[in-house]
């Protein structure tokens, strides 16, 4: 836009005479030099102040601290970690925890948000009103408050019993220290089943492509709604059988004052996940609603006229067109969710910011630690945007 707006200056032939001080280009260069000088000068002033202050306070600089022993405990970790591990490892643990809650949150928020958004346009009055109320109510309450509220509900002894008082349902304990549930004992067959799941997904994708190609060339339909879930589920089951079909389970059981065995989802994780998912799903619901409304009515009427069922109209006509409107704002919601996961520090979920905060308090090296957090978040944001832009381009309208 601005280029076009100033096209007049650009297109003008370069004057042959000596440049006047009032020449547009001379002024442009002058302004840039002045502003850059001010910014760089201020930057240098701040930086030299910082170096002086760090020197006076005898705070070390540099990234050597990353190799030192962290010495603090982290509540939950996806990789092996102990207080004897290094600061670098502690930060990686925090980052993995951030990714853990953010990825699950993005998936759940998208699913929930799409249901909510479609619900607001439902012809069922009750559903439409309830989902609209959900959106209006939940997006106007700070996400931090929601996370803290979930956390204080989850750990409240008025709502959930302690581990010793809890009664298991199907081997699962709901306690104020989290949810304990049985998991299979590690066994070769389960690893094989995991590989089987991947193989099944790939096979299902290939089958669906083949079925689509066949339908386009011959008109014969393939029962994809039955076959595809079957492929995804049956393949890992088959692999599991081949691997020896281990059925040994690890059950949570009371040992001393606490429950041991099985797997545990901490209330911190649940609170952060609930807060982020519910808050973001309200925004996604609104985006989906706007996206669907942006599809011209004629498209849907035309689809009805050629006899498509309502479900198929949604899947084949409305959603593909709505997606083009939905994807860009959805990207920023995904980024918001990832950034908001930093609020986990308020309830003690050990995410990146929480690990960095402890590191910072112990070493005092705030500039380096803050630099690390910023770079990590910027990189994550950038990668997410790049992926979503790629996806956006793929589904964008191909103008003929």
């Amino acid at each position: 836009m601005s280029q076009e707006a100033h096209a007049g200056y650009r297109a003008r032939p370069r004057p042959q005479r000596a440049r006047s001080f009032y020449d547009k280009e001379v002024q442009g260069i002058l302004w840039q030099v002045v502003i850059l000088a001010i910014v760089l000068g201020t930057g240098y002033w701040l930086f030299s102040n910082m170096q002086h202050n760090l020197h006076v306070r005898q705070i070390q600089t540099g990234f050597d601290f990353l190799d030192r022993e962290a010495g603090y405990e982290i509540g939950e970790s996806l990789i092996a970690y102990s207080p004897a591990s290094t600061y670098a490892r502690a930060l990686v643990v925090g980052f993995l925890n951030t990714l853990h809650v953010a990825v699950i949150g993005v998936v759940l928020a998208t699913v929930l948000g799409v249901f909510i958004g479609v619900g607001t346009l439902s012809r069922n009055w009750l559903i439409a009103k309830l989902t609209a109320g959900y959106i209006h109510f939940l997006r106007n309450i700070p996400v931090l408050l929601q996370i803290i509220l979930w956390y204080s509900i989850l750990i409240s002894d008025r709502m959930f019993p302690g581990p010793r008082q809890a009664t298991p349902v199907l081997g699962t304990y709901l306690t104020q220290r989290g949810i304990y549930f049985p998991v299979p004992e590690p066994h070769f067959s389960w690893w094989l089943a995991a590989i089987g799941l991947l193989v099944g997904i790939v096979a299902a994708v290939l089958t669906s492509r083949w079925a689509k190609a066949r339908q386009e060339s011959t008109g014969e339909q393939f029962p994809t709604t039955v076959a595809l879930p079957l492929i995804v589920l049956a393949t890992p089951a088959l692999f599991w059988l081949v691997g020896g079909a281990s059925t040994a389970m690890s059950w949570p059981a009371l040992r001393g004052f606490n429950l041991a065995g099985g797997a545990r989802i901490t209330p911190e994780f649940t609170a952060v996940l609930f807060g982020l998912t519910i808050y973001t799903s309200a925004f996604i619901g609104e985006i989906v609603r706007a996206g669907i409304l942006s599809v011209p009515k004629g498209q849907i009427e035309a689809a009805r006229a050629i006899g498509l069922r309502e479900g198929l109209i949604m899947r084949l006509v409305t959603l593909p067109q709505a997606l083009r409107v939905i994807i860009p704002p959805m990207t920023s919601q995904f980024l918001n969710l990832t950034k908001n996961s930093s609020l986990a520090v308020a309830v003690g979920y050990p995410d990146l910011v929480s690990a960095a905060n402890t590191t910072l308090n112990q070493t005092g090296q705030s500039p380096e630690v803050i630099l690390i957090i910023m770079i990590v978040y910027l990189t994550t944001s950038l990668l997410t945007s790049l992926f979503m832009n790629w996806y956006n381009k793929r589904i964008a309208l191909v103008e003929r």
């Binding site: 836009m1 601005s2 280029q3 076009e4 707006a5 100033h6 007049g8 200056y9 442009g28 302004w31 840039q32 502003i35 850059l36 910014v39 102040n49 910082m50 002086h52 202050n53 760090l54 006076v56 012809r123 069922n124 009055w125 009750l126 559903i127 309830l130 209006h136 109510f137 106007n140 309450i141 700070p142 996400v143 931090l144 408050l145 929601q146 803290i148 509220l149 204080s152 509900i153 409240s156 002894d157 008025r158 950034k339 908001n340 930093s342 609020l343 520090v345 308020a346 910011v353 905060n357 910072l360 705030s366 500039p367 803050i370 957090i373 910023m374 978040y377 910027l378 944001s381 950038l382």
Partner: protein, 413 residues
């Protein structure tokens, strides 16, 4: 004709039964969904109602709360002053109340484009120092006097060519003296005795603090945001890169890191002997953060201005400054008011993060109130109360923004 006579009577097209048939039971699947939802509501709502109303304890009695199965609203009744105003001295709490009301009134007035003019801008210049003094009390600094005088000059209608250089010059001189007095050991400038008792910013808290952080954040970020938005659309590659860099850097990181940066790095960035208190540091962080988001909103407005407007201004031979100040910005800023309100709602909610760096805004005051061992078990009730207050504020603003949008849409298209 005979067919018509024999046809069955049509179903009633109005009345509650017809309405339910059309809106709740129009297809078999819809009927099932309706029944399931009604069943779920019948299961949940009475429980919620019992917890919140019938089984709840409304009197201030923590012993009774502990045995009751419902909510303990006595906690809110007992501590509402602490929740709303934080640790601000009890007898002086009318001051933050007045400040909050005045700030809200100023913001609402500013959203009305018909009131835009020297009266409003002058009022802002006077309001900021006056409200600051009302809030903090103590002595009146020279900066505040200069700002208020500037506002007065704008309202009276002294020409801008006189007011601007005089104001900027006075502020510049003041800053110069401040910087030099630190270096050369000159005595600090005298301050006027104030009207109200001194309340240090450490004691500010509650809803007024939330309002102040958000409002001052967005108002102070506005000039910077306009410059950033113009810079981002500039032809000058150096300035453009600088602005894009700043905007994307801030938008790419969570607010909490910006706040950490502000609270931990600003003391390091300042020369020795200069100290900003915690509130000012948080305010600087929030202002910079908001500047990046507001800049993007303004950029949207700039892009919506038809090309012809730029070309017409160029054709008239207006300089860049005149073109921007008198043709482009007045149109663009009016367009961006509704999205700006949305940004403000976001900021209002986001200021709750300052509790992580140790300020007691509204959410922080709720936590403070529940630190009392007698009421510790009832934090949830405090949070529900806070959630409702936040909801009322944010939803009112959202409705207002939607209303504005409708009005603007009919006006322009």
């Amino acid at each position: 004709m005979a067919d018509v006579a024999r046809a069955r009577p049509v179903a009633p097209s109005h009345g509650p039964v017809a309405w339910m048939r059309a809106n709740l039971f129009n297809t078999p699947s819809n009927a099932i969904i309706t029944l399931v939802v009604v069943a779920a509501l019948v299961w949940v709502l009475p429980k919620l109602f019992a917890w919140a109303i019938t089984d709840a304890v409304w009197e201030i009695n923590s012993a009774k709360c502990r045995t009751a199965s419902g909510a303990c609203w006595g906690f809110v009744a007992e501590k509402y002053r602490l929740m709303l105003f934080g640790t601000y001295p009890y007898a002086e709490q009318w001051r933050p109340l007045v400040v909050s009301i005045a700030l809200v009134a100023m913001v609402v007035a500013t959203l009305n484009t018909r009131l835009w003019g020297r009266l409003l801008w002058g009022a802002w210049l006077i309001a900021l120092p006056v409200l600051f003094h009302l809030m903090q009390g103590g002595s009146i600094e020279l900066v505040m006097v200069i700002l208020a005088a500037l506002g007065g000059a704008v309202i009276v209608g002294l020409p801008t060519s006189l007011v601007m250089p005089a104001g900027l010059g006075a502020l510049g001189l003041l800053f110069l003296y401040w910087a030099l007095s630190g270096l050369l050991g000159l005595p600090p400038l005298p301050a006027l005795p104030g009207l109200f008792s001194y309340v240090e910013t450490e004691k500010w808290g509650g809803l007024p603090l939330t309002l102040i952080l958000a409002t001052v954040g967005i108002v102070c970020s506005f000039p910077l945001a306009v410059l950033l938005a113009l810079g981002r659309r500039s032809d000058l590659p150096g300035i453009k890169a600088l602005c894009i860099g700043f905007i994307e850097l801030v938008r790419g990181v969570p607010l909490i890191t910006v706040l950490f940066m502000a609270s931990l790095m600003i003391p390091l960035f300042l020369p020795e002997g200069v100290n900003f208190d915690k509130l000012l540091r948080a305010q600087i962080g929030i202002t910079l953060f908001s500047a990046a988001y507001v800049a993007e909103v303004i950029r949207g407005g700039l892009q919506a201005i038809p090309k012809g407007q730029y070309e017409a201004a160029d054709a008239l031979g207006l300089s860049y400054g005149y073109k921007t100040a008198f043709v482009v910005l007045p149109q663009a800023l009016k367009l961006v008011i509704p999205p700006l309100v949305n940004t403000f709602i976001g900021l209002f909610k986001d200021t709750s993060l300052v509790i992580i760096i140790g300020l007691f805004d509204f959410l922080g005051s709720i936590r403070l109130a529940s630190n009392d061992p007698e009421w510790r078990a009832f934090y949830v009730e405090g949070l529900v109360f806070a959630g409702l207050v936040y909801f009322v504020f944010c939803y009112a603003m959202a409705l207002y923004s939607r209303n504005l949008e409708k009005r603007l849409n009919t006006g322009h298209r």
